[in-house]
Amino acid sequence: MTRAMRWLVPLSVLPLLALLAYGFRTDPRDIPSPLIGRVASPFALTTFDGAPVTLAALRGKVVVLNFWASWCNPACYDEAPVLEQMWQTYRDRGVVVVGVDMQDTTEAAQAFIQRFGLTFANAPDLQGKLAVEYGVYGVPETFFVGRDGTIRAKHVGALTDAAVRAKLEPLL
């Protein structure tokens, strides 16, 4: 091997490093849900305040369905302010945010809602039945339902402002 060629040896690892670095830009948990494009499973819940929420009644609006639990720390704690902010920003543009509290106790859930001053609809799904229908495998998970009632996007893990912009804006 010539003198110049041999210095290519250390450089040969650069493409590999680049590939691994590329991995940071992707999210391995961003597994496409088979539900995307399908009609969202209907639900009829009663919020902690006693008001009914049904998917049927929200037809024509963009519905953000967020599955959470008070025991899900820190992800649910991180995203709670983001959700509230999103609700305040987009409520006038035809967006409804529905929080579904799964496998939780009512007291802990209400303490959580108070702590973050959440004003959007939050309903208990204490047995986690709705979560099963939506194929939720961990909290938090968020589904974006379009005006036509089909699931258009899904987010796994704590919701961020960037994710809201990327996944909600196109549906408006």
Binding site: M1, R6, W7, V9, P10, L11, S12, V13, L14, L17, L19, L20, A21, Y22, G23, F24, T26, P28, R29, D30, I31, P32, A69, W71, N73, M102, Q103, G128, A131, Y137, G138, V139
Partner: protein, 655 residues
């Protein structure tokens, strides 16, 4: 106070490690021993501080000090004493503490052992060890601060991941990390050899025991990991080609290649460049493993949480690879071979082929592991290659390796004559072929299984042939059988230790082959009193019971297993419901046996206890995998024991 004291101690340790690494290098460059001695004191200081941090962390766990965020996140008031200890390294931050602590122990051993016997290399070895240590201390200080304070202090913590509540969690990480960190020592010696230009064989001889030890712990870590997977995860298997398993397996493969190729360098002065490259690769792969586990780049069941830590590991991996390979390029001319390959039919070429197969296996595992990334980068689609890919590519490679395991130790160096081949391999080949025929007649249908078993027999016979011949030679000298056999093992402990390790691998192979080829399973729903039949076992569902444990709620099923002749066995698989987990954790119950294991998992059940869904498995020969691990341990102990051969030779005893 604990968070502040711990964080402070880690910062001081980081400073000391950086200082030690730099002055050791200057000492090595200038030959000023005072500097090297100062670096030694720094190494001692780092060890003391990291030990103190580990104890501090353990203390925080034992006393439920939830002002430490890491403690609050990984334990709660219900966590039993034993698991509060293992929780110390149960998650990302703590695992790095354990890692750094082991590295500091190894550094100290290097100081004690090699201070005088490797004079030229020693300062650079110390410098590299402390440099690597500094990196891990940096990780513990910046991206994964283990002593971060949590305010306000919560009344209770979140609890440990229930899957980690298992005795395997004390042994598996410790063995695995001892293996991972152990490879730092040969790597440090390789770098020292390159820097000083002393690329001869001294560094290889000095690090032989280190390499074997690291390799052994890595093997043990992999086996215990398999055991944990088998008896905790409840899917009835021990290996899934998961990215993180692969991450531990790849350095094992290259480490194995290195263990064999050094023998050619010692004997024939060949492969210098190759051996250095293998050590660098092995160390880089251990870093790659930590990167993969902790960066969240590839999805895996074992992964820790993600964060900026991945970038630290990737950068360090990049620095290590580029620097090490640049050193290799710099010393290229000095790395030429002095000996050369005389014949294709020789021990050298058997070992070379072994290396080629091992590196090919490493490459395919690597390729399969990063394939999801590659596919996403190139085609924009996330695709995973599953078990079929890994099995299809690797099984033939492994079969080839087993074959070489029989050939390598017996074939002659340089050029094997026909006489040599006939003398060594006639019986093994004949018995191997006969065994294949017998297995076929006994009804083994899978060709792969027949091949694997026949090869196992072949290798076992080569070992027997060698041992018999050597023992006979001693018997002719008038020794008695036990003395002859014992003397052989002790005087030639390196060779026979290697044989015992090979035997261990063969036993593991037997277990893997058996479980892959003959395991059966069924899934069924039973009402109380009903039974299911599988492979001669009759499993009756007797009922369900619920109980409240210290940190979870548990539903236990009772099943009676009868198999005709032996007395009935009661199995109690359960489902555990932890408040912090959204899905229940299965608790497997099983009865292990040499021939087969009965393995029972409780699935869904009716709340009133009237019916339950079970998965019943009869797994064949799995126990031999764990037995193989024990044999491997004995073989390694024999191989690293101090050599008596030279002492014996001095007395004129026949070697």
């Amino acid at each position: 106070m604990i968070p502040e004291i711990g964080a402070g101690a880690l910062m001081v340790a980081l400073g000391l490690a950086v200082y030690g690494s730099v002055v050791a290098a200057i000492g090595g460059r200038t030959g000023r021993t005072a500097l090297v001695e100062s670096a030694q004191h720094a190494a001692l200081g780092v060890f003391t501080l990291v030990t103190a941090c580990l104890l501090l962390l353990a203390g925080a766990f034992l006393s439920f000090d939830f002002s430490v965020r890491y403690v609050a996140n990984n334990t709660n008031l219900g966590t039993p004493f034993y698991y509060r200890l293992t929780a110390v390294w149960g998650a990302l931050e703590g695992s790095i503490v354990l890692w750094a602590w082991m590295l500091s122990v190894y550094t100290l051993i290097v100081v004690v052992r090699h201070r005088t016997n490797a004079r030229e290399l020693y300062p650079w070895v110390l410098s590299v060890m402390l440099g690597v240590l500094a990196f891990f201390l940096l990780v513990m200080t910046v991206p994964a601060p283990v002593f971060q304070r949590l305010t306000p202090v919560p009344p209770d913590g979140r609890g440990l991941n229930p899957l980690l509540e298992d005795s395997g969690m004390i042994t598996h990480p410790i063995a695995l990390y001892l293996g991972f960190t152990g490879f730092t020592v040969p790597f440090a010696f390789a770098i020292a050899a390159l820097v000083t230009g002393r690329v001869g064989d001294a560094w290889i001889t000095t690090t032989r025991r280190w390499t074997i030890t690291a390799w052994y712990f890595l093997s043990l870590g992999l086996l215990i990991g398999g055991w944990w997977s088998y008896h905790v995860l409840g899917w009835g298997g021990y290996w899934a080609w998961d990215p993180v398993e692969n991450a531990a397996f790849m350095p094992w493969l290259t480490g194995t290649a290195f263990l064999h190729s050094v023998m050619i360098q010692e004997r024939r002065r060949m492969l210098r460049l190759w051996n250095l490259a293998l050590v660098i690769m092995t160390f880089a792969l251990t870093l790659f493993g930590t990167f993969l586990t902790r960066s969240g780049v590839v999805a895996s069941v074992h992964a820790f949480t993600q964060g900026s830590i991945g970038i630290f590991f990737l950068s360090f991996l990049g620095v290590v690879l580029v620097l090490a390979l640049a050193l290799l390029a710099w010393r290229w001319d000095a790395l030429g071979a002095q000996g050369e390959l005389d014949s294709v039919v020789s021990r050298e070429s058997a070992f070379l082929l072994n290396n080629v197969l091992l590196v090919a296996a490493t490459f395919t595992v690597f390729f399969g592991t990063v394939f999801p990334l590659l596919s996403e980068a190139v085609r924009g689609v996330k695709v995973s290659v599953g078990m079929p890919f890994f099995n299809q590519v690797n099984v033939p490679l492994f079969l080839g390796l087993i074959f070489l395991m029989g050939v390598g130790p017996l074939i002659a160096w340089r050029r094997a004559s026909l006489e040599n081949i006939r003398r060594n391999f006639l019986w093994p080949v004949a018995i191997g072929i006969a065994a294949a025929a017998v297995f076929r007649l006994l009804g083994v249908r899978s060709t792969l299984a027949v091949l694997s078993l026949a090869l196992t027999v072949f290798v076992a016979v080569t070992i027997a042939v060698d041992l018999t011949r050597a023992t006979r030679a001693r018997l002719r000298m008038g020794e008695r059988l036990p003395a002859a056999l014992g003397g052989l093992l002790l005087r030639h402990n390196r060779r026979y230790g290697g044989f015992v390790v090979h035997l261990g691998i063969l036993i593991v192979t037997l277990g893997v082959t058996g479980s892959q080829a003959w395991s059966v399973q069924t899934e069924t729903t039973l009402r109380r009193g009903e039974h299911a039949d599988l492979a001669g076992y009759r499993v009756r569902f007797d009922g369900l019971a619920a109980s409240e444990e210290s940190n979870h709620f548990k539903v236990t099923g009772t099943f009676t297993v009868a198999n005709g002749h032996a007395s009935d066995v009661v199995l109690r698989p359960a489902k555990k419901f932890y408040p912090q987990e959204q899905s229940p954790i299965a608790y497997v119950d099983y009865r292990l046996g040499l021939r087969e294991d009965v393995y029972l998992v409780l699935g869904d059940f009716a709340r009133d206890g009237s019916q339950a869904t079970i998965r019943l498995q009869v797994n064949r020969l799995v126990s031999w995998i764990w037995i193989g691990g024990v044999v491997l341990t004995l073989g390694t102990a024999l191989a690293v024991a101090p050599e008596r051969r030279r002492a014996a030779a001095a007395q004129g005893a026949p070697a």
